[in-house]
Symmetry: C2
Subunit: 323 residues, 2 copies
């Protein structure tokens, strides 16, 4: 009897690390999690993670063949298998993650960042199946991006291609501080946090009433603003429109760089559908050279938000298998 | 006796078309030109061009083997072998250039735009030999760009990747009209014409004396401004600085998209050396996320400006041969 091939997808976050066993069709055969921030030593963390993965593997009843481990982590470098100066993780400096993991297994281990994993996941399991040239933009607390050109994830010379979140919205002085230490980065406008910041500015300038005026900055989140916008709150709608326009402006640059077939939006903000897609599409088209106009699809990701991180990480192994 | 392989490089411009026979080392064994704008019919033009190429080929004394024809032309589409709505050429609409050319020869015929040809030329004959990830920016009347990722020219889904000249410098209203019908495109700032436009604005705002105040807009060109800047003319120097900064700002975006090893500047403005490289480098670094800083080389093209168009076009055939 032939065994079913499965890849392990691991997503390392600042608080939790989740993993799952994934088959080629994106079915998850087993999954679990552990607390990232309980481990001061990365070697101890990896040992505990590997053990937990093995425990779950023994609970899978059908006959399977494990083919590798794909890991998504902040500042994951696909060229070197490292994570480098990831602000949100307990381990500082440059961590040779793949190397440490390989002490436990002879199978392939691949490391990349969440956005690159999402891009490969979209190609293997999602809406980009069959596409050769596309881009995935992940909209969470920040903004990430992964580029696929000619069927392959773009690594770049140093393994850090696709940091669109940290391109500046305009030259010269900008007001919004970015977590990266600079000002005016795209993710200070286009992200859950960026949406909230835009709402506050609009609220400050406007005298229109809004149900959101009763919330503090700390209380506000993208979901509250989304709910208010759905009920027609004018300030919430304007915050979404501004966010969408800033996104669309930079998506036009993405098109001029790599001329993709489609751009996928993934993550919390993308769930706001037309509220974000309409202004983004409109402003992207407005900023495109005529040869590109009405050609590039702007689409929601087809990966379910719930499992996307594990799916994306596992897809690295499938793409290795099929390249 | 083994014959030496040679590729024909053809550069179609609005006024003249130049071509040359080029060996793998970039030596030109024979060349000639004809007037593009004497031909209303593209078929007649191609027939005349092919005949002229054959005339020159018979004058080459050493034994050679012709391996193909590379053509650089405005709006050349490498996916389809067409030129599409090229404003500067006598033939309108979508012209199936490769198809028409192939009526005369069974050898490979490749078509692309000047900037893509310059990028492949840099890889085959120039400073990018051995590099896998780099970008070439061509600075002439306008601004073009060609991207190489993983050793291959980026075509894009529609064959039009790399139109950086038509990315906007900022969101929202901008003053400078672009020939493409929009406003605020990068090439309205960063090009020979952009430099002249910036000089005029600086001249209008400043009361400093300048030797350039005696020239009309029509009389001014990049060379005059370059000469004045070399002599220390303060307005000319400020015009170069502004041009370099706008370029550097967008080069930071290029890095965030594709994380190249190097960016090459090619064409007239690049000859101004430090006048353009210094502000471009400074503003690029200022706009880079820390993971990219002090890593990306900003270099002058190593293709001689005189033969670059023919070299670039011919290199398409060598890259085909070696892929």
């Amino acid at each position: 009897m032939t065994k079913k091939k499965i890849a392990v997808g691991i997503d390392i976050g600042g608080t939790n690390t989740v993993f799952g066993f994934v088959d080629r069709d994106g079915n998850i055969l087993g999954e679990d999690r552990l607390r990232t921030n309980h481990y001061d030593e990365v070697e101890v963390f990896i040992a505990a993670l590997y053990e937990k993965i093995m425990v779950i593997s023994h609970k899978i009843t059908e006959p399977v063949e494990l083919i590798g481990f794909g890991i998504g982590a902040p500042m994951g470098n696909i060229n070197k298998g490292t994570i480098e100066h990831a602000a949100g993780l307990p381990w500082k400096g440059i961590i040779p993650l793949a190397e440490i993991f390989k002490r436990h297994t002879p199978l392939p281990v691949m490391v990349t960042n969440d956005a690159n994993a999402a891009a490969v996941g979209e190609m293997i399991y999602g809406g980009a199946r069959g596409m050769k040239n596309f881009v995935v933009i992940t909209l969470g607390t920040g903004l990430g991006s992964g580029f696929v050109i000619d069927g392959k994830l773009v690594y770049g010379h140093d393994g850090f291609a696709g940091e669109l979140g940290h391109t500046a919205i305009r030259p010269g002085p900008s007001n919004r501080d970015c977590g990266c230490g600079r000002k005016g980065c795209l993710e200070t406008y286009v992200s859950a946090t960026g949406l909230k910041r835009s709402l506050l500015k609009i609220m400050a300038d406007s005298i229109q009433p809004s149900e959101l005026r009763k919330y503090s900055f700390d209380e506000l989140d993208a979901e509250l603003i989304h709910e208010a916008a759905k009920r027609g709150d004018p300030l919430a709608r304007r915050a979404f429109e501004h966010t969408g326009r800033m996104l669309g402006f930079k998506l036009a640059d993405v098109v001029a760089h790599t001329n993709p077939e489609a751009i996928f939006l993934f993550g919390g903000l993308a769930l706001a559908k037309d509220l974000i897609f309409e202004p983004a599409k409109e402003f992207m088209e407005e900023n495109l050279l005529s040869i590109y106009r009405d050609k590039v699809k702007l689409l929601p990701s087809e990966l379910s938000t719930q499992n996307a991180a594990v799916l994306g990480s596992s897809s690295l192994i499938w793409s290795l298998e099929e390249s």
